[in-house]
């Protein structure tokens, strides 16, 4: 009798992923215990611990460059750097969720387990080396997020956001799946490298309509996850309706993962079709920058404003991928890290003010905090200025390198689009800054009138409550990022360059 021989499994290279999934299972089980302190303190601590372990393991594996599980995943610096970004985002999300309503309603174990599993999905996605693992990662990322979106079950807008995200997201997944199926049909392989070989062979399927349709469908499916216009419409609704910590997670980690997989899929598997897809992606990037920036103007909800801004930012980062050069990828990696901390700082302030005022995420909740709450006002100011790309912040340097990458890759006009988009974006970013510093604080704080929580659960403290030290800590810590990396961008550059070095076959 012959024993079935499975593929060799390199546990070391797989360890960050194992830490995340293992942590998810442990958190889920521990969450079943009765004592309140276990659920409210131990569970998030365990989640943080497994994230810390995963981060440590990722750093430990930093120099790895190998294919694992029979070529399904690839562990290299690109994958590890993006995994590290995702883990940081997840850890910050855990801190923001500490006293939030969502985990209480959805049960702590489930909430944090879902978060960890979603992070694991993102990790799979950025490591994916064939079509199957790409799709698994994609769904492992999405399905927990659908649930997390709807996790404030007593708030109808949370449920609405969850269902909308689920339906539109599934249409996107189905489109992606069909596209992947057609690419498989055209090339006969699911392996990225093998697809690239098939495309490279003489008389390859580059101009095969089957392949091109597949390419179009998968472009849409992936672009959808990064919220590229015109596939962005789920973004503002889902971001606004979801519990704010989840929104923060979606806005940052999902973008990291989706851009990571786009880099890998387009710049590894489809690099030989670059002349085909680059103009299309460039056009989509332009539409995205325009739509995102004009959509953000006139928003009154900060979360919604940040959602539209994240659409525009996705457009900027897409420009780094269009050109298909190492330089572009470096720029994307750098910008993603800067974008992550800036957005996290902004969402932390939103969380804090929503708790303190009961005004939800409206801009009014920020009015006058320049005087009364400088520890919240400064992080928000830095985040807004950084997202707008004001010199002196990491956002500026990131944008500068994106533009440089675009110009280097003969897409100078895309650089101009980025500049014009940034100029327009000042309108709404400065509006937030002006609200904080130039308006008086509202006289009396209405108790939950028009707030996000329209029917507070019985055990939730009614009305305004303290934001919690950890939220302020996140805000200040994340706001330090863009300033520090704006003045000393060296370390972040090294990470970005390492990440791009994994794509050494590019220029």
């Amino acid at each position: 009798m012959i024993a079935a021989t499975g593929p060799h499994i390199d546990v070391e290279a797989l360890s960050p992923l194992l830490a995340l999934t293992g942590g998810g299972l442990v958190v889920l089980l521990v969450g079943l215990l009765r004592p309140r302190v276990v659920r409210e303190v131990l569970v998030p601590l365990l989640a943080l611990a497994s994230l810390a372990a995963a981060l440590g393991l990722a750093i430990w594996q930093w120099d790895a460059d190998e294919e694992i599980i029979a070529g399904a995943l690839r562990v290299d610096t690109l994958a590890l750097a993006f995994t590290a970004f995702v883990i940081v985002a997840a850890a910050i999300t855990v801190l923001l969720s500490w006293r939030a309503v969502a985990p209480r309603e959805a049960a702590h174990g489930e909430y944090y387990a879902m978060l960890l599993v979603s992070a694991a999905g993102m990790s799979v996605l950025v490591q994916a080396q064939n079509l199957v693992s790409l799709f698994i990662g994609f769904e492992l990322l999405s399905v927990p997020l659908y649930v997390l979106c709807a996790s404030e079950m007593r708030r109808s807008s949370s449920l609405e956001a969850g269902l909308k995200y689920l339906i539109i997201g599934s249409v996107g997944s189905a489109t992606l799946l069909y596209g992947l199926a057609l690419i498989y049909g055209a090339t006969g392989r699911t392996d990225f490298a093998a697809i690239a070989d098939a495309l490279n062979s003489v008389g390859g399927p580059v101009s095969d309509p089957l392949f091109l349709t597949g390419l179009a469908l998968s472009v849409v499916g992936l672009a959808f996850k990064v919220s590229v216009a015109p596939f962005h419409q789920w973004t503002p609704d889902a971001y606004e309706g979801a519990p704010t910590p989840v929104t923060a997670f979606m806005a940052t980690a999902t973008k990291v993962a989706a851009l990571g997989v786009i880099i890998r899929f387009f710049d590894v598997a489809l690099i030989n079709a670059q002349p085909d897809w680059a103009p299309a992606l460039a056009a989509l990037a332009t539409i995205t920058i325009v739509v995102g920036n004009v959509g953000a103007i006139g928003q009154t909800s900060v979360k919604r404003l940040l959602a539209w801004s994240s659409v525009a930012q996705a457009g900027y980062m897409l420009a780094g991928i269009v050109v298909g050069t190492q330089h572009g990828i470096e720029a994307v990696a750098f910008y993603l890290a800067a974008y992550l901390v800036m957005n996290m700082a902004a969402f932390a302030v939103v969380v804090a003010r929503a708790r303190e005022t009961g005004l939800g995420d409206a801009i009014e909740a920020l009015e006058g905090i320049g005087q009364s709450k400088p520890l919240l006002a400064w992080p928000m100011t830095i985040a807004m200025l950084g997202l707008a790309g004001i010199p002196g912040t990491a956002g500026f340097i990131g944008k500068f390198f994106l533009i440089d990458g675009a110009v280097d890759g003969d897409y100078a006009w895309l650089g101009i689009v980025i500049v014009v988009g940034s100029a327009v974006s000042l309108v709404y970013y400065l509006k937030v800054v002006a609200a904080m510093w130039m308006r008086p604080a509202p006289r009396s704080v209405p108790v939950l009138a028009g707030g996000a929580v329209d029917d507070p659960p019985a055990d939730a403290p009614a009305g305004p409550r303290a934001a919690g030290g950890e939220v302020t800590l996140v805000a200040v810590g994340c706001a330090a990022g863009p300033v520090v990396f704006g003045v000393l961008p060296g370390p972040l550059f090294d990470i970005a360059r390492d990440a791009a070095a994994a794509m050494s076959h590019l220029f």
Partner: protein, 667 residues
């Protein structure tokens, strides 16, 4: 030596921090004195740098010092470097010197304002930023300084932040300046792509080796010019400067006349090696300068707000400088920058004194006869006016003529620019003395009479001079009273010093006699194609000077005929000196003709330029049109975001169809 140069930067910064930290606590005029001392210390350090530099050998007068490497990771040498050379030292001396005087003036001028300490913190911050800009030895500190002075200017224009007109003017200035910043940034980016370095000296070393007028570099230099034009209020980025007069008058004097607005001139002179390999861009600068100097002079002729007259005059004078440095007359441009800083700061100080006497009113229609009430102001403003009009032997005469003479040496179509320069010089004399005659000549207005008795007129109700709205004198508005220059010692010191400088500074560079500026700046411009070869011949110079002097005096005479003769005092004089009057009768027709041919069309053109070009084209079509498009786009995008799930899905499917169609069709 570089230590002293760093100290030049350190003092104003320290002043900002010290005043800013304690801005609620400083008693009385303490903050003002701290600010003045900080700038004075900076001025002294500048002199030390100057002396040290002169001690060095001619070929080693370009010294750099780097404080810290910003980012040396991806081949971008963004360093915090300062470059000390004759050009930056000249600029530094003028900036710190004039700033010291204006700080001194402000100490009394701003007394009684509730934002006294805040004012000096801003003003010190401005000087710091300006010095960063001037000393920058690398594009990065240049851009930082460039952006900082824009911010400081915004803060000071909107200093009376509860005046709606002031905040609006500040926002306008800020927006146009940011456009300039972006231009400069991208210009620097083109330079970086071309030469792979951001260091000035590194760039300058490579510049002569590149081909002339390469497309990329010309584009880059034009972008840099956008930055220069925005900061120096050249067409079509000039609209903010007149509005910037909403700031306190010493601010107009320092920032919007003497220093910041000349940053564009400095930038072009600083980057001369680049402009010499891109003559196309340099020509653009010369032409824009000429157009601006002419149009702004015509507009100045029609203004009735005293500060706006001087503001348009500033624009016009900077036009001369830009034209000069654009045409290769670097030393002449910088010389005019220096003399202009003296006499224009002086004119603004005088205007501030008059406005103080009028209790805040700026309309010249309401003024008159201040000659006897404020003899000191009258004398100093007369000096400033003569210098501005280019009357020998005042400083403006030499510097303006040098620009025109050198530009004429370029020959060809540069002659058109020179003619425009001479016509505008005539208009300059007209509008300058129109202002002086209307303010100081004629019957004294009640305010002047009161002042003659020794009382300072105080307004019962404080109104905004721009829109006539009634205001109180609380924080965020002008204080209840502004001291008249005449009566306050520090103001007299400041104005007297500047008047002296405005009179004698021309002696630094009298053709064929002295060339202090030329030889001092020589190390910076060594190797320039134009620096020495453009020097005009002796006869040419003297013809030019004679024409310049005649034009200046003629303009003053016309102004006298038009705005002074029929006023009371002069009218009496005329009746008494009937024969003399008869003698000049024929000239009167001459003046009529001049008036009909030049002054009226110029005034009409000025009105046209202001109303049609500024309001309709710049503000209406460019600014309004862009914001309309953005707003319409926003409405459309948000309307599509209907919240209807099925329509989202439909758009998604539509998008899939579109992308698929694209891929299938293009193969």
């Amino acid at each position: 030596m570089t230590t002293a140069a760093w100290l030049v930067l350190a003092f104003p910064l320290a002043g900002t921090v010290i005043i800013g930290l304690g801005h609620r606590a400083w008693p009385g005029r303490m903050a003002g004195w701290i600010g003045t001392l900080a700038i004075l210390a900076s001025f002294i350090c500048s002199i030390v740098v100057f002396v040290n530099l002169q001690d060095r050998d001619e070929h080693h007068r370009q010294v750099t010092s780097t404080l810290f490497d910003y980012a040396d990771t991806v081949g971008v040498d963004a360093k915090l470097t300062i470059l000390v050379d004759p050009l930056s030292v000249l600029m530094m001396l003028v900036v710190t010197g004039v700033s010291t005087l204006i700080h001194l003036y402000s100490v009394t001028y701003m007394t009684g304002d509730r934002g006294f300490s805040r004012y000096f913190a801003y003003l010190n911050f401005f000087v710091f930023s300006m010095l960063v800009l001037v000393l920058a030895g690398n594009f990065v500190p240049l851009i930082i300084g460039w952006a900082f002075v824009g911010a400081a200017s915004y803060l000071l224009i909107s200093f009376w932040y509860r005046r709606r007109t002031a905040t609006r003017a500040g926002v306008k200035a800020f927006v146009i300046n940011v456009v300039g910043d972006i231009g400069l940034m991208f210009g620097a980016y083109f330079v970086l792509r071309e030469f792979a370095t951001l260091d000035f000296l590194g760039v300058f070393e490579q510049a002569p080796g590149t081909a002339v007028n390469t497309g990329n570099l010309v584009a880059g230099m034009i972008l840099i010019l956008v930055g220069a034009f925005a900061k120096s209020a050249q067409m079509p980025f000039h609209t903010w400067l007149a509005d910037a007069m909403e700031g306190p008058t010493p601010v107009s004097s320092l920032i919007h006349a003497a220093t910041m607005v000349t940053a564009g001139v400095y930038l072009i002179a600083r980057l001369w090696p680049l402009f010499e390999v891109t003559p196309a861009a340099a020509n653009v600068a010369a032409i824009v300068g000429a157009v601006t100097l002419f149009v702004a002079a015509t507009i100045a002729l029609t203004q009735t707000d005293i500060k706006r007259v001087i503001a348009y005059s500033t624009m016009s004078q900077i036009g001369y400088m830009i034209m000069g440095v654009g045409a290769g007359a670097y030393a002449a441009g910088m010389f005019h920058f220096m003399t202009h800083a003296f006499f224009k700061a002086l004119l603004f100080m005088g205007a501030g004194s008059v406005i103080g006497a009028m209790a805040g009113i700026q309309d010249m229609d309401r003024m008159g006869g201040f000659r006897r009430a404020m003899p000191f102001t009258f004398a100093t403003m007369l000096v400033g006016g003569l210098a501005l009009s280019g009357v020998p032997p005042f400083s403006g005469f030499f510097s303006k003529d040098e620009i025109l003479a050198w530009t004429a040496q370029r020959g060809g179509w540069f002659w058109i620019l020179v003619v425009a320069g001479y016509v505008a010089a005539f208009l300059t004399a007209v509008y300058t003395f129109r202002m002086i005659f209307r303010v100081f000549g004629g019957e004294p207005v009640p305010e002047a009479r009161e002042l003659e008795q020794g009382h300072l007129h105080h307004a019962e109700v404080h109104v905004n001079p721009t829109d006539g709205e009634v205001e109180d004198t609380d924080v965020g508005f002008p204080g209840p009273e502004h001291f008249v220059a005449e009566r306050a010692f520090p103001m007299k010191v400041a104005m007297g010093t500047l008047a002296l400088l405005a009179t004698v500074a021309g002696a630094l560079q009298i053709p064929e006699v002295t060339h202090a500026i030329d030889s001092f700046l020589h190390p910076t411009f060594e190797g320039s194609r134009y620096y020495e070869s453009l020097a005009p011949s002796e006869s040419f110079t003297f013809i030019g000077m004679a024409v310049g002097a005649a034009i200046g005096l003629g303009g003053i005479f016309v102004a006298w005929q038009l705005w002074s003769r029929h006023r009371g005092v002069t009218a009496q004089l005329i009746t008494r000196l009937k024969p003399l009057y008869a003698l000049s009768h024929n000239k009167w027709y001459f003046d009529e003709i001049i008036d009909a041919l030049f002054v009226r069309p110029a005034a009409w053109f000025g009105r046209f330029a202001q109303q049609t070009f500024e309001r309709l084209v710049v503000n209406g079509a460019i600014v309004g049109g862009a914001s309309l498009i953005v707003r319409a786009g926003s409405a459309a995008v948000r309307a599509a975001q209907s919240g209807l799930l099925r329509s989202y899905a439909a758009l998604l499917v539509l998008g899939v169809g579109g992308v698929a169609l694209y891929f299938l069709l293009q193969s």
